[in-house]
Symmetry: C2
């Protein structure tokens, strides 16, 4: 559907656009975060725009602060009727665009998760934020947020800062995401940062686990958590899913569901919440072949990419085709590239502005050590650039972790046409010596030695032969130990193998559905003067795919005959599966249009005779005249995308009111 | 779509059907539970049938025990790919059939719920089961289950029981759901019941709250729970939803989402689980007018109803039209009747056998004191009659409870055409006297007095005037106190009123989606001999609406030309939004059909030429010949229900293999 007068009366000044690529509120984008500073006018404009959007959203119940009559709970929101419909439409399209298109294996796992699963994934140990407490009131704050706010505030409001101080604060902003608890604590002390509201002194920072904890069963002895992501449910099912797929790679599994993070102090409204819907894909692939059969379908797509090097060099994001990005090695492999392209198509078809969408590569310090390459789809909003989709090549980490913990091998097989002779590593730990050396920890050392890869083992062998000992990092101990040559033997033997056994790599596109929807609201919102006068009308220019209600029906005037026709049309819309709203109040037609524009309803049917009626398109405000019988089929074609409004305009007589 | 040879080779013997109406495993159907005993052969047949269904479901990943590689967790299950698709189809149909059809206001609230909301609803105090502990191992058991099992087992396996003893045990089964902790404990002692596995002695029964508890935010001072139902999220939003609906009654709100119950010891496989999807409707209505505008749409529907009186008289369920049931006063009101009809249509369109579906009225002892009337849609399965949908007229209870706790009036208004003169009750508690009499409890007494309804107040007034005192039940104290005439004054005054302010009643259809799906599996399952020989093929006769995959595509033989055609068809199926599975293995065509029959795929496209192909219907096994271009449109029409298989059979040449 064509969209006229695009952002014609937007509150958001156009000059803002030119700086778009420099803004971010991401917590862990080190370089980008030095660029988060914008002028005060600009930030006031953003604030005003956001208020206009949020007021409309709250007034029309797109969302509601949860448990409002009890004072609400920070970070919890309900989707009201139009919001709920938008969400259902976004998820239905996600299923169509990803699951159906790629024949993905969709699963649906519980939110309640036993502790052991999240121990294996690392969440029990590491899914933490550093917290400080107000020493008098006990109120909790995120330590990094306080330091970040302090630095930004200083830089924005203190014009008398020396060049040296400016550089220092910018440096802190750039590196604070890497700070340890001690480093953060030291900076907070050094800058004299106190609790925001009370100005009381703060405790030292300490880690707070962000998972909601609970207990499974009545005995109290089985700790459980509300899952912080849906991915783990897929990983633990790898074996069954691989079998279901005929023991063939690649294949993808997908899951849509609730995830939970007990944020220390939620802020940024709908963007940082304690419960949210994730849609995650785990695409399992042979680590030796990350090509993608359908890559050519997306390779010509041009989109804004923001590679690591450009971020470090403080360059803006640049338009580049996915094909080029992969062939130049900017994006690590075809599979990652394919998903970047599909994510781009998904978001722009929903109505995200393609010029305010970029794919930002993670910096080295943002990525976990096992990650090969990560790209975030970031959408620009009044809060800055928001990470809405993460697309990560996580290598074999997750399957490895669960294999180790569960002792169930989560592996794939490649049958050789002919048996191959291979050198096979034989690692034999001498448990007695290891026991003497490492006492209670020796089991963990043994396990770590046995799990060594080829390269690591050969290096150790060389070192043991040369020096009689070798340094060795034991993950589970988080310690480097010294291994002596009497503690293990490493050798290789030749063997005939009929198949290769390997742990697949996983490429994970992970969608924060609520964030995407919020950004969509901002990108779809504009205002225009109402017909009646200088009052402004708020409009959401949702594409029909997303619109919570596809169509309104109202009689031009209150009159039984027209009401009958309206009801007849309503009935046929239901039969066609089209959501509609009927409005038989005597309110002026202009007001009724305004009400539905505010809900983003793309088409309005006005009954002004009993044989034919008018159909109005929301953004162009143009109207056509359609026979009563044809209304539902025409609206169905428009909302299904079978016909565009332009097609329809040329097929039916236009109507001017 | 027509279904041939219905249950032709079912494992389940037909004689079973005649006793169907007498079977139940419901926990709280007192009378019905005396009728749960069936012969051993019958129960073996059920067991065998269930095993056949469950084996197929597990093997084909309709579901997977959650976290299986870690040994699983009782009461938690994943939906694997076909199960997940069935669930998505059921939910999409639910939205179409209920939300869209009635223009319901759908909301989506978080699972994490602050304590105060569930205190108001009564869940914190009362959502408990009685538990006993194995005194040596600490293993927990549901007290009522142990007693029930004991009684049933005795009745089934001990032929030497005296008539007196049989009567006693039957009586216990009939009333045990009303037993207090003490009564249950006494019976367990009297019968010498011990722990099932260990035979150790058991503790006294004590209440265990079934909600998963957690803590919201980092301070540990805000207790929260994972919601045990979705309904509360709707009730707390009543005010906003009423406004959204133009301050008009009746209207319905709806919610689909996860709910959680920390069962003491889950059993019955997929039927009693710790996390499940609920779909709930809260239809708000003026308590003085529970008529329903569209009631005539369902009034002629005939279905099995099982009214309270028939249960008490040990009569079977009987077929009756909804119109009659309401006019005879069997069903309390039109709104309840309308939803019973719509639920019937929903379930039978999904594929639930209408002869194994009944609507059972709650007995007096099953209903909460505030409930007006409750009906359960029960579906017969190998476990007996399973409550899958509850349809309850809960009066104004929930809105009252939240009004009381939050102090936000959740009420509706009816504007009078002309002001009316009304007698208004004036209750003035004398706080000093009440304080002296009830000390720390006086506030609760005052609140309870102020909350008296008209009738109660006038009765008290009469009693105070006659006897100088009156008995008064204070809910929150759960105590009857004596009120003296110096403690309050009750009078009436005449007032002009311009509107009526009242708390709406709520009629609540609540759907256990997982239970419906499991029963659907059983009702859809049958076996037939395979083409190749005496091996049996398992088939799910899902209607296209429900089928996880609508269509399979396979080349008759491995050959590049056929594979190309298959891919072309696959592509057009995707474009039409039809889920399909392509199978290019060289397996025999019979085996490939068998594989897809087991997934309940209704249509199979076999490529045996490059111009036209065959389309086979799963249950009749008949085939037609269709041009390649027409395949996707034809399958689309079949799966959308626009055409039936019979239509299609007459339009296209049939094909015999």
């Amino acid at each position: 559907m064509e969209v006229l007068k695009r952002r014609a009366f937007s509150l958001w000044p156009p000059f803002y656009r030119s700086r778009a690529a420099f803004f971010t509120t991401k917590d862990y984008s080190a370089v980008a975060s030095t660029q988060t500073l914008c002028s005060r006018t600009e930030s006031q404009n953003r604030e005003a725009f956001r208020q206009a959007v949020v007021n409309t959203l709250e007034r029309r119940l797109f969302y509601i602060p949860s448990f409002k009559i009890y004072g609400g709970v920070a970070g919890l929101y309900d989707y009201g009727p139009p919001g709920c419909a938008v969400k259902a439409n976004v998820l239905a399209f996600w299923r169509q665009h990803f699951v159906l298109e790629e024949n993905m294996l969709e699963v649906d796992c519980p939110c309640v998760t036993p502790g052991i699963v999240l121990e294996a994934s690392g969440h029990v140990d590491k899914f933490t934020d550093l917290m400080v407490k107000d020493e008098k009131t006990g109120t909790c704050h995120r330590a990094d947020h306080l330091l970040k706010d302090f630095c930004k505030d200083k830089l924005e409001k203190d014009p008398g800062l020396s060049a040296e101080k400016v550089a220092e604060l910018r440096h802190v902003l750039a590196v604070l995401d890497d700070f340890s608890a001690d480093e953060l604590g030291a900076k907070i002390k050094e800058y004299g940062i106190t609790a925001p509201d009370t100005k009381n002194t703060l405790s030292d920072p300490y880690p707070f686990n962000l998972m909601f904890q609970t207990s499974i069963g009545p005995s109290g002895s089985s700790p459980g958590y509300m899952r912080p992501e849906t991915a783990q449910g897929i990983f633990v099912n790898f074996k069954d899913l691989y079998y279901y797929n005929g023991n063939k790679l690649p294949f993808a599994a997908a899951q849509i569901g609730q995830a939970f993070r007990n944020e220390i102090s939620p802020r940024q409204g709908l963007l940082r919440v304690r419960e949210f819907t994730l849609a995650e894909i785990e695409h399992f692939v042979d680590p030796e072949d990350k090509s993608f059969a359908k890559f050519s379908d997306v390779s010509d797509l041009e989109l804004y990419m923001f590679p690591r090097e450009d971020q470090m060099a403080e360059q803006p994001a640049r338009r580049i085709s996915i094909g080029e990005a992969v062939s130049q090695g900017i994006v690590n492999n075809e599979t990652l590239g394919y998903f970047i392209g599909r994510v781009y198509m998904f978001l722009t078809q929903l109505g995200i502005d393609k010029d305010r969408l970029r794919f930002r590569q993670h910096l080295e310090n943002e990525m976990a050590h096992y990650s090969v390459d990560c790209w975030d789809a970031e959408i620009e909003s009044s809060y800055g650039w928001i990470e809405c989709v993460g697309i990560a090549d996580r290598s074999a980490y997750d399957l490895h972790a669960h294999t180790g913990k569960s002792r169930v091998p989560l592996v794939a097989f490649e049958k050789y046409q002919q048996p191959r002779e291979v050198e096979k590593l034989v690692i034999v730990p001498v448990k007695k010596e290891l026991g003497l050396a490492f006492k209670g920890n020796h089991k963990m050392v043994v396990e770590a030695l046995e799990a060594m890869g080829n390269k690591e083992a050969m290096e150790m062998k060389a070192s043991l032969e040369a020096k009689g000992e070798a340094e060795f990092h034991v993950c589970r101990l988080n310690e480097v130990v010294t291994i002596k040559s009497n503690m293990l033997s490493i050798s290789t033997e030749k063997k005939k193998e009929h198949q290769r056994v390997f742990t697949p790599s996983v490429i994970e596109p992970s969608f924060g559905i609520g964030r995407i929807i919020y950004c969509l609201y901002e990108h779809s919102f504009y205002t225009r003067p109402s017909k009646d006068g200088d009052e402004q009308v708020n409009v959401f220019r949702f594409p029909p795919l997303v619109a919570p209600i596809k169509c309104t029906v109202f009689p031009l005037v209150q009159n039984q005959q027209y009401e009958e026709v309206a009801k007849q049309i309503a009935k046929s819309l239901t039969a066609f599966g089209i959501s509609y709203k009927i409005d038989v109040t005597g309110t002026s037609i202009g007001k009724r249009y305004a009400r539905t524009d505010e809900l983003g309803v793309p088409f309005a049917v006005t009954v002004d005779s009993s044989s034919s009626v008018t159909v109005r398109e929301r953004d162009s405000k143009k109207q056509i005249r359609v026979n009563v019988d044809e209304v539902a089929p025409v609206v169905k074609q428009l909302t299904d995308g079978v016909r565009t409004w332009t097609d329809v305009l040329s097929r039916f007589p236009t109507h001017s009111s």
